[in-house]
């Protein structure tokens, strides 16, 4: 049986791999090295990302400079260096990563949703705050990979759902079988929606790299390809783990 979903922030970092400068984290295959002279700040974030730590070579360097004025961040033109300035709260790193990941991960989509997996297939369940993403993940802990943000990565044969460290999450990925738009309901039901409508719906759940035209084009291309290759459904559900049978029903 797969390990149950755990809070990445709740894990210890005592046995996690570390770099001499700080720590390295793997976010959908992107390796970021995080460094700071503030050991408390660094330790807090190392613990926060403990489930996603890596020993691979980093391609992005994230540097925290607590003595550099008010809290702000900047990225180098190549986007290979990110600088967090000021004596910011440790969670500022999360905020900055949510800001920059959509462009860094292109042509993948960063989507506001819960990612579920049953061995060889992944299911993305999208919804605004309050739509039931966390509820669904908590009801299905053996299947849940993350409950807030996931990446959808185009592959040669389709798409892969990849968990991101937000908020209760563990690393994992699988070929994407279906996408669902969550709705609260009195009984479980799923209804397939047409590709054009799916674009309109999913648009609301994507973190768009709006400051980067090339990344926006890539995200748009990925989205329009996704809705034509992967079935998209509305999923009405009540608080009952039986919804898993509805999610994993064969494609209509």
């Amino acid at each position: 049986m797969a390990p149950a979903l755990q809070s990445s922030a709740a894990r210890t970092s005592s046995t996690s791999p570390a770099s001499p400068r700080g720590f390295k984290v793997n976010i959908s295959g992107l390796i970021l090295e995080v460094a700071s002279p503030d050991t408390d700040w660094l330790a807090w974030n190392k613990n926060r990302f403990s489930a996603f730590l890596s020993e691979e070579e980093a391609s992005i360097l994230v540097t925290h400079r607590p003595d550099a004025g008010e809290a702000a961040f900047s990225t180098s033109p190549s986007q290979q260096r990110i600088t967090l300035k000021g004596a910011c709260h440790p969670r500022f790193l999360d905020t900055v990563l949510i800001e920059v990941l959509p462009a860094l991960l292109e042509p993948s989509l960063v989507v506001h949703g819960t990612l579920l997996r049953d061995g060889s297939r992944a299911y993305l369940c999208c919804g605004q705050s309050g739509a039931g993403k966390s509820t669904l993940a908590a009801m299905l802990p053996e299947h849940a990979l993350c409950d807030e943000l996931a990446a959808i990565r185009p592959t040669d044969g389709g798409f892969e759902g990849v968990s991101l460290p937000y908020w209760v999450a563990r690393p994992g990925s699988a070929p994407l079988a279906s996408v669902f738009i969550l709705e609260h309901a009195t009984s479980h039901r799923r209804t397939r929606i047409a590709p054009g409508e799916a674009v309109r719906e999913l648009r609301r759940h994507i973190c768009w790299p709006t400051e980067n035209a090339n990344a926006m084009m890539a995200a748009f291309t990925t989205l329009t390809r996704l809705v034509q290759e992967v079935p998209v459904y509305r999923l009405g559900f009540r608080k009952d783990p039986g919804v898993w049978d509805v999610i994993t029903e064969p494609t209509q």
Partner: protein, 135 residues
């Protein structure tokens, strides 16, 4: 002089399930065009004239004027949204087209950066999250 119609720059579009979806990168807007609208959109190409587009309209006795006005209304909408550039002054006061053969912008949606990604669990951490209108 013929009225020239040119697609604006900074756009991307795809036809998905019979619907043409256009994204305006600078304005951060997304639009859906119905099938007749998609056909007109494709026919505009990089640039064309109004009369060239008129020639594409269905030719049924007694409907030429209605179809022409429907096309004008559609092009006026595209120009208003910054999707085409033209020196023509299209009729703005025509009634909204309703027939299935009328080219239409069927929906328009703003593209938001964060799509509601929740930082609300950690309020006050930064101003980036507090500017998210969907929290």
């Amino acid at each position: 002089m013929e009225m020239q119609i040119t697609r604006a720059s900074g756009l991307a579009w795809r036809t998905v399930g019979g619907e043409t979806i256009v994204i305006h990168l600078a304005n951060k807007m997304m639009y859906g065009l119905n099938k007749p609208g998609g056909r007109i959109w494709e026919a505009i190409g990089d640039s064309t004239t109004f009369e060239n587009l008129v020639r594409l309209l269905p030719r049924e006795a007694g409907t030429e004027d209605i179809m022409r006005r429907s096309l004008e209304s559609f092009l006026a909408g595209l120009a208003r949204e910054g999707l085409i550039v033209t020196d023509a002054e299209f009729q703005q006061d025509v009634e909204e087209p309703v027939g299935p053969a009328d080219p239409r912008i069927t929906w328009r949606e703003e593209i938001r950066r964060f799509a509601g990604a929740s930082c609300a669990k950690y309020p006050g951490v930064s101003t980036i999250c507090s500017t998210n209108p969907e929290q």
